[in-house]
Amino acid sequence: MSAQTSELAPALAGEPRTALADALRRVVRDPLGALGSALVLVFVLSAVLAPWIAPYEPNAIDVPGRLQGPSLAHWLGTDNLGRDVFSRVLFGGRIALTVALTAVGLSLAAGILLGLIAGYGPRWLDNLLLLLLDSVRAFPVVMFALAVITVVGPSLQTVILVVVVTSIPAYARIVRTQTLSLRHTEFILAERALGAGVPRILLVHILPNVIGPLLILASMEIPVVITIEAGLSFLGLGVRPPTPSWGNILSDGYAFIRNTPWLVIAGGIPVVLTTLGFTFLGETLRDVFDPRLRRD
């Protein structure tokens, strides 16, 4: 039995890899997918490499040189404290990337856990969890965020907390539905008859069947998370100044919108390009990996 498995293993492992390579090739060949991948790549690289490519220290104040227009020395001008906006945009990308990865990772993990429990656990627990998830979804996201911030106080951690709590229901629902439909299938019944424990059934057999749509949802959630972070920071309720974040740059820009419009333009464009990039990429990924949901 074990010899047979190990003989089969390389063949089985080989096939998904070529399928994956094939799928990735299709993503890059799609014009929208290529554009999305390029934008995401630029975003990730500039965020990771910010300390090396930023021309100035992002928090270096130069009051005499404040509110300058774009020039060769300052590509995107300077803000109300004379800080170089281009450097701040680069470092703001680091915050956006950190929040996006942490929040999506945490809510994915929590969503999987709750979804598996709801889908495989007893009926009453399922109903209870569904009600809890529904009552979280009953709040408009921004209102919920503002209520939490009033109580906990604004910080990077609060932003992550809000995003995680509000996006758990979407992940948990997908996992729950899939688990419910799988729990009575023959291969799961067979596994149970063989004496497999609940953790083994859930993690080895059910989870791999759920992970595909979940990852597509996660890639679609990244722009949402980046938007929420930028939005709350714009309100002065997210990442605290002077930490450079796209929302903080927009907030400074809004205060000086009549005289120095480039601040708002410079703060908004990275938000727009990044959300567009992830959305285009997510759309293409969905088309490639989930033919049932194809655009056409």
Partner: protein, 314 residues
């Protein structure tokens, strides 16, 4: 339909009750009490105790929860910490601005979305269909507060076509409408894309069905087939989604009201968060949540009324 209606209303009430409890218990999940939060770090213990007593925070927690929910049922949302006015009245003054903004945002985005979706579905594969597709995805992706900031910059600051801030002169309907245009544009743009895609997908599905083929076989004009027989069926998923749409627009309205300085509920919540005026924050969040739950309830009931299949699957 009656059974469905009763069940759906029951569910909405339970969710509302849970949401209220959740909102209430948030106050107890964190270190520090609301009175200290409201008064800030320099308050004396006596000041905190006095405010706590006035807010009813010295009573046992289950008592407070029942008081809170009982108050909400009587339309009493507590008293503003700073101005001593009833929270419910403050919210009622701000609410019309937010409702008008949300209604206008939803109205223009849904109308344009349906037209674009129908056009795309009937001109499938055509270059304009592809352009509409890409524009729709982009409209969904771009955050509404960035749209608000950029439209403020372009149309109010640079071109000076439209007023930048405020809600307009009270009593002057034309002025108030002119102040609504930019915020309604900003919060609705994403929904144009969303509805357009939904209607397109739904139309394509319906256009392949038997009753459309029959209509074609009878030689009915294409226009009549599309608008009379296909769209009336294809519109159903959109109706069911309107509830969620209103929740989204209410979220967007917070940003639009702040950017354009409109005295609505979103701006009220924001100002109260900055002042740590927590009774107003909690009251206003609760009222918008109720609106949202009510909107999803109405949308669901409407969808069930129009489509018997929804009722059967509940």
């Amino acid at each position: 339909m009656l059974v469905y209606t009763a069940k759906r209303i029951g569910l909405a009430l339970v969710i509302l009750l849970l949401a209220m409890t959740l909102l209430f218990s948030m106050i107890y999940l964190v270190p520090g009490d609301p009175a200290s939060i409201a008064l800030g770090p320099r308050a004396t213990p006596e000041m905190k105790a006095a405010l706590a007593a006035r807010m009813g925070l010295d009573q046992p927690i289950p008592m407070q929860l029942t008081n809170f929910i009982g108050g909400v049922l009587r339309g009493d949302l507590g008293v503003d910490v700073w101005s001593n006015r009833p929270v419910a009245r403050i919210i009622l003054e701000a609410l019309p601005h937010t409702l008008a903004l949300t209604a206008l945002g939803l109205g223009w985005s849904v109308s344009l979305g349906i037209v674009l979706g129908c056009f795309s579905a009937t001109h499938r594969g055509n270059w304009l269909d592809r352009v509409i597709g890409v524009v729709s995805v982009s409209a969904i992706a771009v955050p509404s507060f960035v749209v608000a900031l950029y439209s403020l910059l372009v149309f109010a600051v640079a071109l000076k076509w439209l007023p930048a801030i405020g809600a307009g002169q009270a009593g002057d309907l034309g002025d108030q409408l002119r102040h609504l245009i930019l915020p309604a544009f900003a919060i609705g743009l994403g929904w144009v894309g969303y509805i357009a895609r939904l209607v397109r997908a739904s139309m394509l599905e319906v256009m392949g069905e038997n009753h459309i083929r029959t209509a074609r076989a009878f030689g009915l004009p294409e226009r009549r087939i599309v608008y009379r027989y296909a769209l009336t069926v294809a519109i159903l998923p959109t109706v069911a989604l309107l509830g969620v749409g209103i929740g989204n627009l209410l979220s967007g309205a917070v940003f639009a009201e702040i950017v354009f300085a409109r005295p609505g509920v979103g701006k009220l919540i924001y100002d109260s968060v900055l002042n740590r005026n927590y009774p107003v924050v909690m009251g206003a969040v609760l009222v918008t949540t109720m609106l949202y739950v009510l909107a999803t309830l109405i949308a669901d009931l409407l969808a069930a009324l129009l489509d018997p299949r929804v009722r059967a699957n509940f």
